[in-house]
Point group: D2
Chain length 367, copies 4
C-alpha cells in the first residue's frame, strides 16, 4: 500500500479508469494510489463527473501524494479524451457497456483491461446465451486474452485487450488447475461450493444488500444459474485437455457471506485413483512453486479469507478423504483485489512492461 | 417468547437444567422463561453456583415472571437434589460428563434430555472411535431415543432418555430424509457443505472464537473429521433402508460463519433418475405436510438463516440441475433453538405429555 | 413471541397495518403474529399490494397460525376499507403521509396509532420548522397523546390517536425522567450521545446503508440537526417543569452502529448538588418500581443492547463521577420494538382495553 | 503496505519486537513486512518461542520478502540477545513487564519504543495510583518522551526511550489540541465519548470478547475509571498551559464497538466565546497544515473509522452548535495503526534518522 514518502521515479505511465464509483473502481483507486509505475490521470463516472476524487474518497486528501491524486476531477467517459491522455484504460463498468468503450479505445490505440465479463467467453454464442445480449465485437472477443497470469502470462504481455477474470473463476480455476493438468480427478464429478463477501454484489443501492438484510444471516443465491459457470467450465476444460464439444460440466453454486471481502471456494472432487494427501500436495506445490501469488498452504492447513484480505494472494488448502476417495480443494482470495482490481493492475503491469507484481498489496490487514 | 402477562395455569411441571452458562444453557433459559407448562426449579453450574440467574442473565429481572425466574440460585450439580425437585432434567454439559449424570438421574427416576453426543450413536464402538473415550453406560445407549420428532415422535413420547440430536445432523437429516425414503438419489454420492454460526463453537474462552478472529473472515474446519459425521450416517442409512454393514458413507464438511446463530447446509446429491424440480418438490411437500416445524419453501425459493433465527423451524429449499442430473437440497435451522435447546424442550414436552410445540418460538427476529 | 399452539380465545380484535414492508411494519407483523388479543386483518403497501404476507415474509407459512396470517393479501391503503374491517390501525408510513391517513381514519371512527413523527410535537410551528412541511391537521395535533406509557398511561387509554414516540426520544426521555422530576441535575448542561443500530435508518434502498458501507465502520451523523431533538426537548422540559418559553435546550447527537437493532444513549449531566451513586440509584429505582418495562440495573451494572434485543425493556444504568460532579445515565432499548412497533402495540393494548403488556416480547434473543 | 518487488536498499536497520502474538505485535509485523528501512531480526514470545513467524501468520510465506520474514524463528525475550542484534526494540507487552525489559535494553545501549503505558505518565504517583503497581524505573520515566509527533517531534528524534501514546489518548489529544492551544473552549466542561473497535481489548482468550458476546451488541465499559484518563488529562493540561496543580479534569468514557479496528471520539466542549464553524475550522486547519498525518476534513464533513482503517491518519471533523454555544469535535483513528503500532514505527523512524513517515500505511482498505 502507498506510503507517504514512497519514492517515485518520474514519469509514471498515465492510465485511465472508466467507472470510478463502484467497488472495483474504488479498489483500483486504492491500488493505484500506491503504485510506483502507474499514474491515474483520468477517472470517469457518468453520475459523479465534475467532482474531485477527494470528494468521493475523503482519504485522498492531505499534503502528499494522496492529496494530489484526490485533486483529479472526475470526467464523463469520453474515448477520445481518454486516448489523448492514457496509455492504458481500465474498464470498471457493467458488461455490454464495456464492449462498446473497449472497441473505441482500442481503435484509438489504447490498451484496455476490461473488468467486465464481455471478453471472457471465447464462444460468442455462449456469451449471448448466458448474458442474454448480443456481442457486437466478435473480432475483439477472439483477440482478447484471459487475464489469469498463472495460465496466460506470456499472452497477456503482448495483448491489446485483457479480459480480466471473474472473482469466482479466479478462485475456482486456480484451485482446480493442478488436479486437472495432472489428471488427479474425475472430470465429471466436480462440485464447487463458493461463498463470497458482499462487495461482490457491487455498490448499487438495493434492499437485498442493505446491512440489515445481510448481517447475521446467510443464504445461497443463483444456484445452477450463476454467470460465472461457463467461464469456469471454459478454462477448466482447457486445463483438462477436453476434446472440443466434450468440455467439463460442473456444479457451481454461490452463497452470500456477511463479510465485505473474500471468497472461499470449497471444491469437491473424486480422485481418479487413490492418492495420499502428501502426494496430492506435492503436485500442487510443484505446479505453483514459481508463482509469486499462489500459496499452497502447508500440509493440513486450510485457508481463511482474512489471510488474503486486501491482497493478491490465492491461498490453497487440500484435504484428502481416503474413506471416500475424495479430494477437497479450498481456495481463498480477496474478491476485489485478486478477484478484480488487483488482477487488473497485474495485467496492466504485464501489458506495459512493468514488473508483474509492481504496486500490488501482499500483506493482509488483520484483524 | 415469553410475554409478561402470559397466563399460566399452575402447576407447571418442575424441570432442571445442568449446565446453565453455555450457549445451549442460555437458550434453554430463554425458552423456559416463556414456557407455559414447564418451570425451571434447578439450574446448575460448577463455576457459577451461588449466584442467581439474574446475575448471569440480567434480563431475568423486574417485577414479573422474568424477575421471579431470575431469583433462582444456581447450585452445584447434585443428582439427588435434582431428583428431589424435578420430573425432568436437561443436560447441557460436555459429552462424557453427561453420561455419568444421566445414569444417576435415570436411576433416581428422573427423565433426561441429554444435549450432548453421549447417547446419539447406537453403536458403542463407533462412539468410542469418534469421541476417543469409553462409553460406560451401554444399556442406556441401547435404550436412548434419538430426539428428532419427524423420525421418532412416538418413541420419544415414551422414552426415559432422549439423545438430543446435534445441530448439523438435524439440518442434514431433515434435508435428506424425503429423498432417501423415496429413493430419489444415489446414496454413494452425497456431499454436505455445512456452514454454522459461531455459537455452535460454544462459550468457552478461546482465541479462535474471539470477535476479531471470526468477524470479517470465513474458514472451513474439521474437514472429513467432524464428529457429527457418524451421527448423520447412522440416521440416513436407516432412512435409506441400508443393509447392516452397508451404511451410507457421505462427505460432511463444516465451515464457520461470522454470525451468531444459524446453520445452512447445502447438500449435493445425484438423482437416481431424471426428475423435474416440481416432482421432487411434491415428494418433499408430501413428506412434511403434517409436520408443524418443517417448511418446504415454495418452488424456487431458497432458505436463509434469518428466516428461522431464534425459532424451531427447519426451512428446506430445493434445486434441480437438469443439465447435471443433480438435486441440491438446502436446509436452514437455528443451531441453538432447533439444533439444540428448542428441540430438547420439544422432547421434554413429548416425554411429559404436553403438546409437542408448547412454548417453542416460531416467529424469527428480523432484521 | 408466538408459539404454535398459543391458545387464542376468539374473537381477537381486528386491526390494520398501513405500511407493512418497512422495518417497523416488519416488526409489527412479528409481534402481531404472537398477540393473543389482536388479529391483523388488513396490511397495506402501495408497492406490494396483491401479494400475500407469506410472499413478503416467508416465515408466515406452514400449517398453523403463522400460515393463516401469511395468507392475508396485501392491499392498497384505503381508509374506507380499513375502517370497515378494523377497530384500530397502525400507521407505519413516513411523516406527512401519516397525517393525511390518520385524519381520514379518525373521521371514520377508527382508532389510530401513528408511528411517524406527525403528531409528536405539540407546537405546530416547531413541527413545520423541523420537518419543513405544513401540518394540515392542527386539531388532531392538539388531541394526540404522546404514547410513552411511563408518562401518559392514563391519557393513552382514552385516546383516539396516539403519537408513538421516536426511538431515540424513548431512550433519552426514560433515561432523564427521574433525574429531572427530582431536580437532581442542572438542566442547562445535558449532552446525549446516542448510538443506533442500522434498522433505524429504514429499509429504503440506498448506498449509505449497504452492508459494505456500514459493516466494520462507525460514524456520527446529523449532529445538532437530528429531528428527534425537539421531541426530546419538549418532553424533558415538561418533566422538569420548565416555564413556558424557557424549555430545556440540550445537545443531542447521533451515531450509526454496525448492528441491526438497538440504541444505547450515553447521557452526560451535571449534578445540581453532590450525591452518591447509591442515592441517585434509589431515586431511579423508586421512580420505576411499578413499571413493568423499565429496569434500573443493579448498582454498578451498565446496560447492553443485547439484553433488550427484540424486547420491550428499557434498561438503565447509572454512573456518578464524584471527581467531576457528573451523573452519567445509560439507557438501552431495542429501537424497533420498544422504540417503535412494540410500543405501538402497547398503545393499542391500552386504547382497546387489553392488558398493557399483552403480546409483547420480553426475553431477548441471545446470543 | 508491502509489495512483492519493493526495492530495498541494503542494509536496513535491524530491529526487534518483544511480544509478537498480540494484536499490536501482529500489526507491527504487518507494517515491518513492508518497511523499506527497517528489518525485523528478532521476534519474541514466551508462549510461541521455537515456532517460525510463518507458523503464527500464514501470510508470511511464499518465495518473496514475506516468505523470508516468515522464516524468522520466534525466541524467548532475552535482553542480551536482543541488544546483540538490534538497534531498536519495540515492546508490545503488558505494562509492568515493559518497564523491566526497557531498563535492561537501554542499559545495553538499545533504543526502545514502549507500546505499554509504563512511561506515559510523568508523575510516578499518578502511575502508581491508576495502575496499582510500583514504578521501578523513575529515572527512565523522567527521560521518556511521549511519542505523539504533532506535539513532541523534536524530542522524539533524540530520545532513547519513547512512550508510545495510548490509542484513546492519541485520538482525544489530537482532537482537542488546536482548541486548547488557541483558548477556544472552556477547560472545565469537556466530555469525551469514545468508542473503540474490539482489537483494543487485546488478543487474550476471554468470554467477554468472544464473537457471540460482541457481535450485534453495544455497551459502555470502565466509565469514569479508564486508565487512559490521566494520560489525556496530563497532555491536554500542558496544551492549555494549565498551572501546576490546576490541571484539566475531564469526563472520559469508553464504549466497545462490534468492529475490529477503529476509534471514534466524540468530544463535547463549550466555546469560550461565540465562534462560527468557519472560524473554528480555520484554527484547526492552520494548526495542522504542515502535519502529514492529521487531516482536518472539509467544512461539514464528519470522519468515519473506515476512512482511516489500517492507516496512520487522524481525521478530524468539527461541528458548532450555535444554539448552545458548543463545539463538538470528532476524531477518528485506527486504534492499532495510528493508535499503537504505526505510531510506534513512526517513533522508531524518528529515533533512527529515517524519514518520519517511511513505511507507514496511508490508503485505507475499503470496503
Amino acid at each position: 500500500m502507498p506510503t507517504i514518502n514512497a519514492q517515485r521515479i518520474p514519469p509514471r505511465i498515465p492510465v485511465g479508469l472508466v467507472g470510478v464509483t463502484g467497488y472495483t473502481g474504488m479498489e483500483l483507486t486504492r491500488i493505484l494510489a500506491g503504485h510506483p509505475g502507474l499514474e491515474l490521470v483520468r477517472a470517469t463516472s457518468r453520475s459523479e463527473a465534475g467532482r474531485t476524487l477527494a470528494e468521493l474518497y475523503p482519504y485522498l486528501s492531505g499534503p502528499g501524494d494522496l492529496g494530489r491524486m484526490g485533486a483529479l476531477t472526475v470526467t464523463q467517459p469520453d474515448p477520445a479524451d481518454l486516448a489523448s491522455a492514457c496509455q492504458l484504460v481500465f474498464l470498471a463498468v457493467p458488461h455490454k457497456t464495456a464492449q462498446e468503450i473497449a472497441a473505441k479505445l482500442i481503435a484509438l490505440g489504447v490498451k484496455v483491461v476490461d473488468l467486465s465479463a464481455d471478453f471472457r467467453l471465447r464462444d460468442k454464442a455462449t456469451y449471448e446465451h448466458w448474458y442474454a445480449t448480443p456481442h457486437t465485437e466478435p473480432s475483439l472477443l477472439a483477440e482478447a486474452v484471459y487475464g489469469l497470469p498463472e495460465l496466460y502470462r506470456a499472452q497477456m504481455a503482448t495483448a491489446r485487450l485483457i479480459a480480466n477474470p471473474g472473482c469466482y473463476p479466479t478462485s475456482s480455476i486456480l484451485g482446480l488447475a493442478p488436479a486437472l493438468e495432472s489428471g488427479l480427478i474425475h472430470t465429471d464429478d466436480i462440485v464447487i461450493d463458493a461463498k463470497s463477501g458482499t462487495s461482490g454484489a457491487g455498490r448499487k443501492a438495493g434492499v437485498g444488500t442493505l446491512f440489515c438484510e445481510v448481517s447475521d444471516t446467510f443464504r445461497a443465491y443463483n444456484l445452477t444459474k450463476h454467470r460465472h459457470t461457463p467461464e469456469i467450465e471454459q478454462e477448466v476444460s482447457l486445463l483438462a485437455g477436453a476434446a472440443p464439444g466434450k468440455g467439463i460440466a460442473l456444479s457451481f453454486n454461490t452463497h452470500l457471506l456477511p463479510i465485505s471481502r473474500g471468497i472461499l471456494s470449497t471444491i469437491y472432487t473424486r480422485l481418479s485413483k487413490p492418492m495420499s494427501l502428501k502426494d496430492v500436495h506435492a503436485v500442487y506445490a510443484e505446479r505453483y512453486k514459481d508463482e509469486p501469488l499462489v500459496r499452497v498452504l502447508p500440509l493440513g492447513a486450510l485457508p481463511e479469507t482474512r489471510w488474503v484480505r486486501g491482497t493478491m494472494f490465492c491461498d490453497i488448502g487440500l484435504c484428502v478423504d481416503e474413506r471416500l476417495g475424495r479430494l477437497i480443494i479450498l481456495s481463498a482470495i480477496d474478491n476485489l483485489c485478486r478477484g478484480a482490481s488487483g488482477q487488473a493492475v497485474l495485467g496492466a503491469n504485464l501489458m506495459l512492461g512493468l514488473p508483474e507484481t509492481q504496486g500490488l498489496p501482499t500483506a493482509p490487514l488483520m484483524p
